[in-house]
Symmetry: C2
């Protein structure tokens, strides 16, 4: 049975990426070794590392005054790295748009005067605060946002202006073009839209490097990794290789402009059906709806549970919503084919028909 | 051509492990998903996580009062985590036996009064200091050692007694049985003897948890990961799966006692030939010679370079020594078959014969 994996992360990867990795898994390009066992300083690995960097730079049109880093520890480690590196004055501003934004703020408060300058918490995080009305402080070193909120299914449609805008883009990086020059730093755990869990992408403006706090562990200092081209210690070689394959795949499809169109169409198909169904509900204000994570509920919790179970039996898996919001969540990242969304909508229609009068 | 990979890390993995991972790569156990795209909270992944933990506990005979953690960031991140978690009094002792021991000490000095209480630096790290004569301080919270020194090719044959002995075992974990109860904490980057780069194994006595420094990032707090069974954030799912496969493979071979015998035989074959060759030299005091990493030199640097090049052409790859010591290094971890060592010795004999009078 064909399975469509709607997991929020780790999540679906493109068939081509998986098949290519499988084909080369035991003997990479005839070198007699697997990528999983290559020295990170070997002649075989060096071109993989460089190609991953070059393709990401090309896909995202990263300006020359930015460094691209491949790190470990996920976005959760970035919650500490950002304040430990970018807060020399000890002040930073955060916008609260969900669970991970809260965690990021809470971690920054360990290291300085970090405050929320905007929040949609009072409304269950169902919208993004107006980016022109944030209570930003002039003396704050940076402004931190979570560009897409995986759990609540919201995203920014435009970004606040700030001398150093920092964005957690874990759940929407590479889903559409973005003007990198608006940001001081972008970070993303790769396990949602790029690669297996284990590598974190960081794109940072070079002038921000070199201000790490004295208590910053060496491994959490961006400058250390930038100086060593992400080879300060052994990097997660296989994850970077898989990321490189995903970058190749995205390029072959036409890059991020093409992906943005496909993603808009996929999301529209799902939201349009939810809105017209008279059965399913998505609580997010329309203009802020995420194109990657689509949470929805049926009229009651028992039906939600039944939906998740029956969908899985049809090969539509990992649709259970996050415990904070319940219901269902369909994560429809780059690698989710339009056929997957069509299958989901077809199942939703059938399920609604059967249970409309329950 | 059959290739034998002597890389110090990332390094050779067992053929069975690679072939099994390849076979299941696109469709794990018929679930229609790859391990690389499974949610870490899914019904498919949970048994992998638990089996990895259970098998490691069994293989190393880990007592019940220890936690097993799967973390990220390699041994380099442990260099900070150890002092940030285990140094409530602000004092710690270190034994310097190589490059990584120096880095561990240097990182600890950021967070407290960490000193070297033994060192073989003056002799180019060619031996292990007497473990009964270390200048340990009673008030120090722990004593840190590097059980096997990957670059210099030494290892401890017995361990110092200490209320909290901390060991970096990255390059020899699972190569022989070890009495875990002698240690407060054992850590190991998995990319040498276990799995692809990207997961770090930590085995820590439970009573040591909960003393993290106020400046310790949440992600570097052992207690946070212990409480969440290494699922506080997204773990490196694929690396843990590969580790689990390696653990299965080790168990099927008879466990660590069997591996110790095989490893002793492999190392003896190589050291015996080096010593009798009258051509190659290993500078390490015999009783401290590593069973995992065997550095050696020919009579001159030009021949060293020629050796590395010609060996690679014969399928004996990644034999170049670390830049700090030059020459060659054969890393002969668990996954290196005895045939690999035999092939290396045969090549060394041929090379010596051809160049004895150069």
């Amino acid at each position: 049975m064909k399975v469509y994996n709607f997991s929020a992360g780790p999540s679906i990867l493109a068939d081509w990426v998986k098949e290519e990795a499988q084909r080369q898994f035991v003997d990479y390009c005839g070198c007699g070794m697997s990528v999983v066992e290559m020295s990170h300083r070997s002649a075989q690995y060096a071109p993989i590392h460089q190609e991953a960097k070059t393709l990401l730079k090309e896909l995202m049109n990263v300006p020359d005054d930015y460094e691209i880093l491949f790190l470990q520890g996920g976005a959760s480690t970035q919650f500490a790295m950002v304040p430990l590196n970018l807060m020399p004055s000890g002040k930073a501003d955060y916008v609260l748009t969900g669970h991970f934004a809260e965690k990021a703020l809470s971690e920054a408060q360990k290291y300085g005067d970090a405050v929320a300058v905007g929040s949609s918490r009072e409304a269950g995080y169902t919208y993004i605060p107006d980016v022109d009305s944030l209570a930003c402080r002039k003396e704050a070193d940076y402004l931190h946002i979570t560009s897409n909120n995986t759990i609540f299914g919201t995203h920014y449609t435009r970004y606040p202006k700030n001398k150093c805008l920092v964005a957690d883009m874990s759940s929407e990086i590479l889903s559409a073009p973005v003007d990198v020059s608006q940001f001081g730093l972008i970070y993303a755990g790769a396990q949602k839209n790029i690669a297996p869990a284990g590598v974190t992408i960081v794109i940072v403006r070079k002038d921000l490097l070199g201000n790490a706090s004295p208590v910053c562990p060496t491994m959490l200092d961006y400058a250390v990794h930038a100086k060593a081209d992400s080879l300060y210690n052994t990097p997660p070689v296989f994850c970077i290789y898989m990321a490189m394959l995903t970058f190749r795949w995205l390029k072959s499809l036409g890059g991020l402009q093409t992906m943005a169109e496909i993603n808009r169409d996929k999301a529209a198909m799902l939201y349009d059906y939810i809105d017209e169904s008279g059965f399913y509900v998505n609580p997010v204000q329309k203009e802020y709806r995420s194109l990657m994570n689509v949470p929805f509920v049926t009229p009651n919790k028992d039906l939600d549970a039944q939906f998740v179970k029956e969908a899985a039996a049809q090969g539509l898996v990992s649709l259970k919503g996050h415990r904070l919001v319940g219901g269902m969540r369909a994560s429809i990242y780059n690698a989710m084919p339009v056929e997957g969304v069509k299958s989901l909508v077809a199942f939703m229609q059938k399920f609604a028909k059967e249970h409309r009068n329950d």
